[in-house]
Each structure stands twice: as structure tokens, then as C-alpha cells.
Point group: C2
Chain length 334, copies 2
């Protein structure tokens, strides 16, 4: 994913993707609903396209059929010659790259919003590759301001030097919405409503951006106060540092599980010496790191097979530069 080039252009080609993981039901059901009734995704300056990313996994109500689609958007997969034995999700990643990309090209979609659920107690989490996607950071800031009473954290998942691999990395800018806790295969009304409100607010923000300084929307007070459409701000985020696996037996079975004092404590500080696992035999395993970390995705069902009981993140604050507004639209004829 690259930052939006200068000079900025309106975002016309926007997609809202659900069912990247076929058992994360908020996005699955919203995408299916919007495919029948897309009116909710329309704004004056653009119409977002609903996409059901993984139809086969969605039909089977599984995360994936052959491999994790949301790890398949790498150049190795996208550029290799197609083969009949390719995993279903690799083929599907190429199709989505044609639809929404090609990745890193000028033809790529302007923005992709990708809808996820987690079994972890993540609340509302905004998932971005890194802080370099300035448009996405401004969108995060906007979403945080919409519901200041609800925590809405930003998680930066890309490790240094790591190639981007997510579905939203295909577009020029993108963001994942991660809502939890919700069991796989279950659709909770409360999370559905929250997801829907976040998508609406995100599309409103894109509309706001597209309107340019000439827009008459009342929300444009930021511009009139500062002379910049979207001024710089300080952002707090949680950046992935590493992952921690469950304790296991010599044959790979679980030998313990997440400690009750860590369970459901996503984004809270984990200090050296605090318990992280409870062994089936009764003993506690303590966190032996030297500095405080902030665990996220604690006890996410889909990560057992990846060898991840939780991610360790560092909490950081950084400056996000102003987002230049569009050139004022020509005044309408009197």
C-alpha cells in the first residue's frame, strides 16, 4: 500500500469487503445484504462497491477453504503463473487483485475497507498496515471522534521489512475493521450495528474529503478554522512487535491456556512477572519480558493453528501530518 500521491484526487473507487474470512459473520452478512441493497453505500461523490471476498469459505462458514485469504496478497502469489492445483484462496486473491488492483498500480481502487471479527475482546479496533498511510490515519482519527465514549484503538500490524499481504493492501489506501468478541459463525446484533455505523462513518469521511474546501457540509469546520482541510494531529496506536504461542506438549497439543488474569484484557498493559498462561497441571507461566507490552488478539480462535496465543504490541504516539484538501471545486454558475 502506498500513501496517496500528491496532488490529492477525490476517492471515487471505494470497496467495502466482507467475508475475507468466511466465518466472521458481521462482514459476511453486511456484504451479502449490501449486494442486494447497495443504497447504504452510496454517497453524493461515489458509490462504494460491496464485495464478498471468499464465497466458498463463506458458504462453508469457515475461515478459509485452503489457506488464509488475508495472507495471500503477496507479489509471489499475485504474479505467479496460475496452476489448476493452486489453493482456492490464491486463485481468489488474483481475482480480487484484478477487481480491486492491480496492487501498487495507478489503476488500483482508491480505498478498501475490510470487515473482520475476532473472538478476542478487542472492542472496536482499526487495523492498518503502518502509520505511513496518511489517509487511513486521518480516517481512524475521524472514526475515533465519532464515538468518543467507545474505545476505538488503532493496531499497526506490519513488521519492519515485511511485505504487505492483506486484501486492503491491494488498494491505494485501506483499513480493516476488527470487532470483537464474537464467536466464529455467530452474528451478534450489537456488533452488527456497530460495524454498520463504522462503515457509514468511514464513507461519510471519504465524502467529506471528496467535497473539498468548497463543500458545504457542516463538518468542514476543521478546514475553516485552520486553513487546512484535515490538520495534523497526534495519534496513539499499538504496533505489533512479536507473537507468543501457547504452552504445548512435545506433540504440539495445548498444555495450558491463557491465564484468567490475561483473558479479555486486550490493549491493557502486561508487566514483567504477570501471569500469562495457566498450565493444565496447575502452574502459572509468567511474562518474562523486560518491558511492559500491550497484548492484543488474546485467545483468538483462528490463531491457535498459527501458533499465536496473543500478539505483543508497543503503544506509541506519533504525529500524523495534515491531509491536503482537494483544490476548491469551481463555483457553480450563478
Amino acid at each position: 500500500m502506498c500513501s496517496r500521491p500528491e496532488p490529492p484526487e477525490p476517492l471515487r473507487r471505494v470497496a467495502v469487503v466482507g467475508g475475507t474470512h468466511g466465518n466472521e459473520m458481521s462482514g459476511v452478512c453486511l456484504a451479502r445484504y449490501w449486494l442486494r441493497a447497495p443504497g447504504e453505500l452510496q454517497r453524493p461523490s461515489f458509490s462504494a462497491v460491496p464485495v464478498l471476498a471468499n464465497p466458498a469459505a463463506t458458504a462453508a462458514c469457515r475461515r478459509y477453504v485452503d489457506c488464509d485469504l488475508n495472507r495471500a496478497f503477496t507479489s509471489a502469489f499475485l504474479t505467479a503463473r496460475a496452476h489448476p492445483d493452486d489453493p482456492y484462496e490464491v486463485t481468489r486473491a488474483r481475482e480480487l487483485n484484478q477487481l480491486l488492483g492491480p496492487k501498487a498500480s495507478g489503476q488500483a481502487f482508491d480505498f478498501v475497507l475490510d470487515l473482520h471479527n475476532t473472538t478476542a475482546s478487542m472492542g472496536t479496533c482499526l487495523v492498518a498496515e503502518s502509520s505511513h498511510d496518511v489517509f487511513a490515519m486521518h480516517l481512524c482519527h475521524h472514526l475515533q471522534l465519532q464515538s468518543p465514549e467507545l474505545p476505538c484503538r488503532v493496531f499497526l500490524y506490519q513488521l519492519p521489512g515485511e511485505e504487505s499481504y492483506s486484501v486492503h493492501s491491494v488498494a491505494k489506501s485501506g483499513l480493516g475493521l476488527e470487532l470483537g468478541p464474537q464467536p466464529q459463525g455467530v452474528l451478534r446484533a450489537d456488533l452488527l450495528a456497530r460495524m454498520r455505523a463504522l462503515v457509514a462513518a468511514a464513507l461519510d469521511f471519504i465524502q467529506l474529503f471528496n467535497q473539498g474546501p468548497g463543500g458545504r457540509d457542516g463538518l468542514r469546520h476543521q478546514a475553516s478554522h485552520t486553513g487546512t482541510a484535515f490538520p495534523a494531529f497526534e495519534m496513539e496506536a499499538y504496533r505489533k512487535v512479536s507473537s507468543v504461542d501457547f504452552p504445548r506438549t512435545e506433540t504440539g497439543d495445548l498444555a495450558g491456556t491463557v491465564h484468567p488474569q490475561l483473558q479479555d484484557r486486550d490493549f491493557e498493559p502486561l508487566r514483567p512477572g504477570a501471569p500469562i498462561f495457566q498450565m493444565f497441571g496447575g502452574k502459572d507461566v509468567l511474562y518474562e519480558g523486560e518491558s511492559t507490552v500491550y497484548p492484543v488478539f488474546i485467545n483468538e480462535a483462528a490463531y491457535y493453528e498459527k501458533g499465536i496465543a496473543f500478539f505483543q504490541t508497543e503503544k506509541l504516539t506519533f504525529s500524523v501530518p495534515a491531509l491536503p484538501g482537494l483544490a476548491p471545486a469551481p463555483s457553480p454558475a450563478p
Copy 2:
């Protein structure tokens, strides 16, 4: 399942089954642990056998591979001639019927405890076929008395005239433990501890029964007070009446989900006119029955494919007769 015959005999052949559904992790992990360290399942008068019921589904962390094992213990499946194309779970049901049964025979295990989780907010639920299994009802009563501060409801799942089909129906007596909410594929320490304590209490009860009136366990005060080993009592339970499907589109997709006012309200009264579903289009669907029911398994992930959003139950109270104690053991030689 038949009630235990008179005169009562001690229960020597007892099994604790986990992984009947391969993604219900409390039982999966306990069964695996006990297969390595069975000491926790031993009592003076018997040693319960740990069984991992569905190894293939457990390895894949799925409910089942081909079909639901916990619906496969019917005479049609158990007595049909084996065929190489049989579903995996049908073959496995026959194997378990050999190990724990044969069903309805004198050779069957005395008692099977089967460990389950649900994504519904069922708390601690004891699942019995019907009120006719007097030993199981006494066990339920015992478990309820162990932790009076925690609700511990009894769910009777057999519809009138329905053949028994569960794994524990193979034994002379049996019970399912259903703990939730826990997402599929997730092991929560709190539910694991609760499941383990319930199993321990169940085995203690069987030991208590086996000891007979000559037992010197302090818990036998019931016998000394009443002259009957396990006196009659009144039991409250929730009996399945019918199921209710989600609202769906003409193609079978979900058109709405469980209403926020019903979600997480398992075992609470649902009165005529109360909302049960929220349509994606915004409207509420109301409960149109004429009498109050008690929904259970509300929004259980595994039941979407069965066309079940929740079960309607009726709450009933009935008398459970005394459980005759064993004949006093001969006094030990002086």
C-alpha cells in the same frame, strides 16, 4: 437410555467423553490431558475412562468431519452393515458403541459423562434426555447443591417419541455438560476450571453411590437422616418443545439476527409480543406464541446450519423418586 435396573449395583464402568464435537475446547483439552494423566479420574471404587470421541474432527478443530457425531447413535446407524463410503462419524459411532455399549445392552457402560461447550450464554447446563433417568436426575441434583451460588440448569432434550441419538445414550445412564458462552476453537480458563470441577463432583457422586450405606464419607449424612440413601426431591428443568429458525431470504441467507433483547437471555422467560429478531432492513420480529417460553441455545454457532436460532423450552417441576442405595457392604473382618 434406560433407567438403572433394580436392585442397584455399583457403577464400575464410567467414561468421561470430550471432543464429541471437535471444536468445543473444554472437553477436547480435558480428554487429551486425562489420556496422559488419568489420576484425576480415579476414585476408590472405580476409574473413569477418558475418551476423545472424534479424533479427526478434533485434529481439524471442527465440529465434525462428515456429520454430527452426537446425532449418530441411532439404531439405524449402529446396526446397518458397515460400508467404505459411510460418513466418518457413523463409523466412529459404531466404534464408540463397541467401546461404551452396545447401546441398550447389559454390557453397556454404567455411566457416560459427555463434555460440551456452546456459544450461547447457557452458563452451566446439565443436558439429559429425559426425566426418566433417575440416576442422572440425582446426579444433577447433587451438582446443583455443590455450587448453589451458580445457576446450574437442567435441559431435557428428547422430544416425545424421538429415538435417543447422543453419545451418552449408549450407556445405561448418562449426562451432558454444556458450558458457555465459549467460541468454537477457543479454550477459556474460567470455563475449563468450571468443567473440571463439575466432572470431579460427578465422579464424587458416583463414588458416594458406590460406597453404599456402609460408606464412611461425611457426605452420607443424607442417608443417616432419612433412612434412604438418596431421598426423593422436586426438580426444576427446561424441556425442549420446538425450535425457531432465523429469518431468511428466499435463497436461504440470513435476513436478520437474534434481537439484542433476546441475545444472552437463555433460560429467561420470553413473553408473547417480545422481540426475537432484528431484520437487516431495520424491522423487529416479535414472538407470536400464545404462552411464555424459555429460549435456550440462543445464537449457537453450530445450529445455523440446522436452521435453529434457538430452542423453545417449557419450564417444569417434577418429582424425582428416591434412589435406592446399595446393599450395605459386608463389615470388614475385625
